[in-house]
């Protein structure tokens, strides 16, 4: 039971830390970003928005990949254990 919860707690902590770091990155790096060769402010705003949007997508992708790998790895490991227990019994 504890192992099940611990796995998720680690994922939750990872996702939460990524979110806070992402917010910091947006606030400290992306928002104050100045691109000297682009004069149009609207274009700069769109670039900033797209960069922030990409960060959010990256965050979601990472979240999905971590869980997907965790699920299939756990399922495989658990099946191997079950198989070993069965063969030991026989």
């Amino acid at each position: 039971m504890i192992r099940r919860i611990l796995d998720f707690v680690l994922v939750l902590l990872f996702v939460w830390t990524c979110m806070i770091m992402g917010l910091w990155l947006i606030n400290e790096v992306i928002v104050p970003l100045e691109i000297p060769w682009i004069k149009n402010r609207a274009v700069i705003a769109i670039i900033k928005l797209m960069t922030s949007g990409s960060l959010v997508l990256l965050w979601l992708w990472l979240w999905r990949e971590v869980i997907k790998r965790m699920f299939w790895h756990t399922l495989k490991t658990h099946k191997n254990i079950e198989r070993r227990l069965k063969s030991d019994k026989n």
């Binding site: 939750l12 979110m19 606030n27 979240w63 869980i67 997907k68 699920f71 399922l75 658990h78 099946k79």
Partner: protein, 328 residues
């Protein structure tokens, strides 16, 4: 503070009194569901969420009598909840398609926009502070309520999980409102807490009633509305992590919007009444399936794991509220 306490008590008592009546009515009308995670396949009355809506309506009415200056805010909250509830009731009686249901829940955010009860300056996030999403924010409100209502609707795999996790989220929003000094958040959280506790009492393992889509969609919309009206957006995102996880994984593995009845079952019932994750690659990767990947569990154990996860994300959400307070 007495007003808020009265609101909580009224919501609890009205829901407690109306729940048995709703259950009796649903049984009489044959609006029942089969508890598929039990060998005996008991028949359980559906649409218990109606008692929750009655309780919320009662507590909102009392709150608007006691605090008349907040009537507009309370009205938009109740209207959002009711619209989602009506969509849920339609779905319970005549199942809607996987695309129509989320589309209809988009309307639940409309009362907040029409009554202008949201903060037009945009949401506040930790570290960033107040954002300037003045143009995008109204659109985000509509999407947010549809997301929360459907995320809660998808997170109802075992007895007591939907009601238990939503109670945890409500308590999280309540504590965060205290930390951030958001009086509207405190009042609205207490309006929903009483009815949710009643739902949990009746819906926990072994369930005596199912909330139905009328319950899950309305509660989801109500929680989304509390996040918007109480300016608790960042806190709500973290508190909703298990629901977001569940919905997002399911959708990303299926690659489309889907209804539970259309997809392969993610969980299998064993002979000893334990539940096991299916190895079927076609089945959606839900939170319940991921939890059961470690090995079979009894239904009440699996429900407990999900509620514990919700408590942990609630603690992180409260920490997020602290960070937000430090930022502003």
């Amino acid at each position: 503070m007495i007003n808020e306490f009265v609101t909580l008590i009224v919501g609890f008592i009205v829901s407690l009194l109306s729940m048995p009546l709703v259950m009796k009515f649903m049984k009489k009308k044959g609006i029942v569901g089969i508890d598929v995670h039990k060998k005996s396949k008991p028949v359980i009355p559906e649409m218990g969420g109606i008692a929750v809506i009655i309780g919320i309506a009662a507590s909102v009415t009392i709150a608007s009598v006691l605090t008349p200056e907040k009537t507009r805010l309370l009205l938009s909250f109740l209207a959002s909840t009711l619209i989602a509830g009506v969509v849920g009731a339609i779905d319970d009686l005549k199942p809607l398609s996987a695309r129509v249901k989320p589309f209809l829940t988009l309307f639940s955010g409309m009362p907040i926009l029409m009554l202008c009860t949201y903060d037009p300056r945009g949401p506040i996030f930790p570290i960033i502070g107040r954002t300037r999403l003045t143009i995008v924010y109204p659109i985000l409100i509509i999407v947010a309520l549809a997301v929360t209502s459907n995320a809660v609707n998808m997170m109802d795999p075992f007895n007591g999980t939907m009601s238990g996790t939503c109670t945890v989220i409500t308590v999280t929003l309540l504590i965060s409102s205290f930390i951030l000094g958001r009086n509207d958040g405190i009042l609205l959280s207490l309006c929903i807490l009483g009815p949710l506790l009643v739902l949990y009492l009746f819906n926990r393992y072994p369930a005596k009633v199912f909330p139905g889509d009328v319950g899950s969609l309305s509660v989801g919309a109500a929680l989304g509305a509390i996040a918007i009206l109480g300016h608790l957006e960042a806190v709500a995102i973290v508190a909703f992590a298990p629901q977001i996880m569940n919905g997002f994984y399911g959708l990303s593995t299926m690659g489309r919007l889907y209804e539970r009845r259309e997809a392969a079952r993610p969980v299998v019932l064993l002979d000893d009444e334990r539940l096991m994750a299916t190895p079927d690659p076609e089945a959606p990767l839900t939170l319940a399936r991921i939890i059961l990947a470690h090995g079979p569990l009894y239904e009440y154990e699996a429900a407990r794991v999900i509620i514990i996860l919700s408590i942990i994300s609630g603690i992180l959400a409260i920490f997020t509220a602290y960070l937000t307070k430090v930022t502003i």
